[in-house]
Symmetry: D3
Subunit: 249 residues, 6 copies
């Protein structure tokens, strides 16, 4: 069930059978010479919507702009400050909690989001902690690449040059979903360099074409499809397990 294509009355019905919702969350940022700017929000959206096709789960709209300040040296990147991102995630959570959602799973597509998302969870929980009351709801952060079996499959598909940014696995997923938007380029070097992440100019100096440690030439729509199907089924299990956890009151 896609929340944005539902009516409020349909969500009211859904809440009678489940209190869980998946929020795809990512980032809009450069992904090397061939990766789509939307890669990091498209991947969790693609996976969540694939999962929704065969399971009675609810998928919220995609939170498409995250914390990508280090990619701002490359045109097309859009980033929130961590403080803005934390405030916005908090308002999404507060909104969903208002309706009675008790389990909010953020399916994340961007490593750079992790710190801010976790900080946002604590920023929401602390309101309950300072007030000495229960929150009444719980959040969970799942990176799509950490879903059961997905890391193993990616390592099998791309034993070398997977890297950490503009990886062949994420690019394969967008190739599968958007075959008309497959781009090509000569990569030099074949496997991009690795190193620390700091401000945008530093990043562009270290990683001139935007990749980090990756060789995206290995991506293919077929491999992307395999990843999506596996991730989607793992997501359903993850969400169901989370949904069935009792919530202390």
């Amino acid at each position: 069930m896609l929340l944005h294509l539902s009516t409020w009355a349909e969500i009211e019905q859904y809440l009678k059978r489940s209190r869980a919702v998946v929020v795809p969350i990512g980032s809009n940022e450069q992904h090397g010479p061939t990766g789509l700017l939307g890669t990091d929000w498209l991947c969790p959206e693609i996976i969540a919507r694939e999962a929704e096709k065969s399971a009675d789960i609810l998928v919220a709209p995609t939170f498409n702009i995250g914390m990508a300040q280090h990619h701002l040296g490359f045109p097309g990147t859009i980033s929130l400050r961590p403080s803005t991102f934390i405030a916005a995630i908090g308002d999404w959570i507060r909104s969903l909690a208002t309706h009675g959602f008790e389990k909010i799973l953020f399916l994340n597509g961007h490593g750079g989001n992790i710190a801010s998302i976790e900080a946002a969870f604590s920023e929401v929980y602390v309101e309950a902690s300072f007030a000495k009351r229960h929150a009444g709801f719980a959040m969970k952060l799942c990176n799509w690449w950490d879903l059961e079996g997905v890391g193993e499959l990616a390592r099998k598909q791309f034993p070398e040059g997977h890297g950490v940014h503009a990886t062949p696995s994420e690019i394969a997923i967008t190739q599968w979903a958007f075959p008309d938007a497959i781009k090509s380029a000569d990569y030099s070097p074949k496997i991009a360099p690795s190193g620390p992440i700091r401000e945008a100019l530093d990043f562009r100096a270290r990683y001139p074409d935007g990749r980090m440690g990756s060789d995206p030439a290995q991506a293919s729509p077929e491999k992307g499809g395999e990843l999506v199907r596996l991730a989607a089924s793992s997501l359903v299990r993850e969400l169901n397990a989370f949904a069935s956890e009792p919530l202390p009151r």
Copy 2:
């Protein structure tokens, strides 16, 4: 050109021929018994992407969650606080300006967003004003229903019961774009009541099924298609005019 399906190198090329970008912005909120929760962000997204098919314009990802606090009494609504929304719009603008975008047109789909979007523009401009320097870029807010000719067409299509929320025109647009998600219901009363907008419980008490002044039963995919095509061509003209305005330095 869809920014999220482009690479950073393609955006770098685009910036050589244009400094303008369209950002569809809306809200995810209840739209009466039959309107989709995503209506207000889907409409500007649909129009902007329709426009992009036949013109060399750049469309950013959709800013899909806006200021909808008054709709929080209906399940599925997600809202930012105005302060969060203003901070987030500011970060989008700052990010785009970093790349050299000088004309940022927000194509808006939600009346409740207008105040916060305009406040956000001022919040960004004031940095330049306090520093006694030029901003180097300009923003414009266009509500899709204010695009040239669109209001006239809507009044012709729906001479009565257009209303201001869950209007037949916005619902027609989503019907055209998502024919599989057309919902139906008996509306009672036929034309919904009107009145002020305050907090969520007040809103739900005044407008029990979520509509304000509207009779969405008049919507049809055909009328939606007419609206989209007209709005798309007006948007291209609006953007081109904005893009060609000189920027004082």
Copy 3:
């Protein structure tokens, strides 16, 4: 009744007969070669205090600094950022609500304030909406030029060259109230240019003497007096209607 010239005990008495209060709100900003810097906060203050002379209404102190970032290129302008303005309006509302005021009417004198005032109302209401409770009070924004009959009178008085900033109507009002502070200048051009509003340097470049679309030479104390008397009586009706609205609980 002027709140600032009353004691707390007098306000306690007033609250037994009414829960409504008027807050004049404006801006301190350049108003062309002859307009007073205080014009936009003086006008609503003048009108509200005129209304108070013949009706049992309560007038709060004037909120005299608003959102005028675009006028900062002209000496004497003082502006809050939108975010500061929103926070401050919120604290005024929270304070008044603490005492049991249930209807807070902001009588506004500056177009540039509208977005921030409306955003401020939502910022206050959202606290109730996130908490699923009633606010217990309501706010209303009235621009003095939108009070019943006022626009018509101004159009009759100034059929041409009314414009939108440093208008003859607002200058006439301050002339009526402060006859010793009437200034004169040669206006060139007679009717000032029109256009968009952006950061301060852009504004000063577009509107070199500060006026927008107006010919203030038409102002006179007599016309000002007419406007004030009409606006004052309309304000009393507007406030009484607002005061008598039931508040859902």
Copy 4:
């Protein structure tokens, strides 16, 4: 020279002969059974405007709402949070500095404002300190009762029962300025109790009629006039001395 009754062109002229400005700042809060709610912003406004009559100084609009959270238990009090107050003072300073004002003297009428005003000054200065540059302007806080000679006069006028809130000296000043708004009441006890200041309910429990340590029955318009004239002349000297201080660059 009253800024709000001047044009921008007049301020531009003034800046050629002086870079100093006085900002009356106070609070709108209960002042016991007979004190006006506006006492704390009226006093500095009265003194500054008296000073302006005989000296070429510039007086800004009055910052009329300050930090009075502890008085919120009494109807009519309006308070900013310290954080809001600090942000607003900062924006006033930034605005004035934009025009070239280099010496901004805040003439304060409320003891409860002092901490927030000083914190606000530091909040503005720290921007320069973090950036390793000069601010280019300086602020000074003067409480009107600390102006040269004023404390001595008040102690002579009111050797007993001056107290710290709803004092006979501040009430005398408003009696002098607003003879039509003089109120009377039986005070019991004659001299109000003293003690700590905490939240509003605690305050009202400790100080049932709002006074702290004072016997306002001693106030008279004549004593108020003496205080105003002395304070006004001291203010001019204080401002001139401040204006002539060299500013390191």
Copy 5:
């Protein structure tokens, strides 16, 4: 009892016999040619821990970074903005109040902290005031030099050249506590200049070696020991008096 060397179970026990806690709070900032950068947080820590040796009081960890923006021109200074400082003090208070602490005494070692600490108290109290409820706890600010008898002793020890920054009394206290870290220098002039405090570059220009009005050469570990012992015993009395104050509910 030192909170940081206790277990939560021991604090739970302590709360059964007392609801009071001391928080040493200071600043890390330059203290002239011979003063330690930690002087202002070490002094209250030293005094509080001395007091704790012979009385059943609870001493929290030391809040060691305060508002020292004006000292940032000298290496080693670390400062919070006032707004950050206020937020952090608020969170300390909220945390302690959660456990049932009702009397929180901040023993302060830095004059520049006073405004922000008092603003922070009001920022916390206002939450109760806006909500029309009791806070349930109270805060008190004590500067160590204002503890009973301490000022007198310091004036006796240092009748001249005590000054206000890098004073012989505070340096004596750190000499007593850290005899291995006693530094020496030639002071020129013997007694440092006095004047206003503004941004960091202004401060360093006015006070080239960092001292304000002081002659620290008079400090000795013996004098420091006298000050510490007196301050410690006064602190215990102060805390006990505060602890025994009834709290209105």
Copy 6:
């Protein structure tokens, strides 16, 4: 070199030979029945000061209160909200950068701090990224248990029941440093449960004595000493490597 026991002139000298500084950072929070409340800020402080004894490194004061909202159900815990924590870390960094520090290593003692510290780094870097300039400095986060060799030693010392909170390794370190503050208790169960971390009441319900997955009975001062010595020498290597990294400009 301990920054707080140095003078500003000594830091000025230090900056001529190194631009690196270590900031111990932790949390003050419950650590089970026997762990000290200060454990998480004491451990990095102990290790950094041990390292400083034999290497020319500079150790800043300890940032002792972190993000521990989930422990607020246990008396003695003090927590910042993530947003406050991020603001404060930012101000520490801005202060140190003002003096020319270019490499700021945060030696962390609390897992719950990681997200906020990383978000804080990005919050600082984004200022440079939005301004299209280099930051001029870099930060690094090192958890003491991740220093080279430390994890291996801890696993060897405590092959079972190390857990993640109130671990035998961190308790051993404080036992070594504070032998007079060694506490004992019967642990039941021997190894504490594991699970998710949410708000404070949820945490206390899941982990009744405060431990997570650990058996602290295995701790001893001797093991603590081993850990400290190893961690201290690894820290020096880590800092030197970081200090010698070139910084792009």
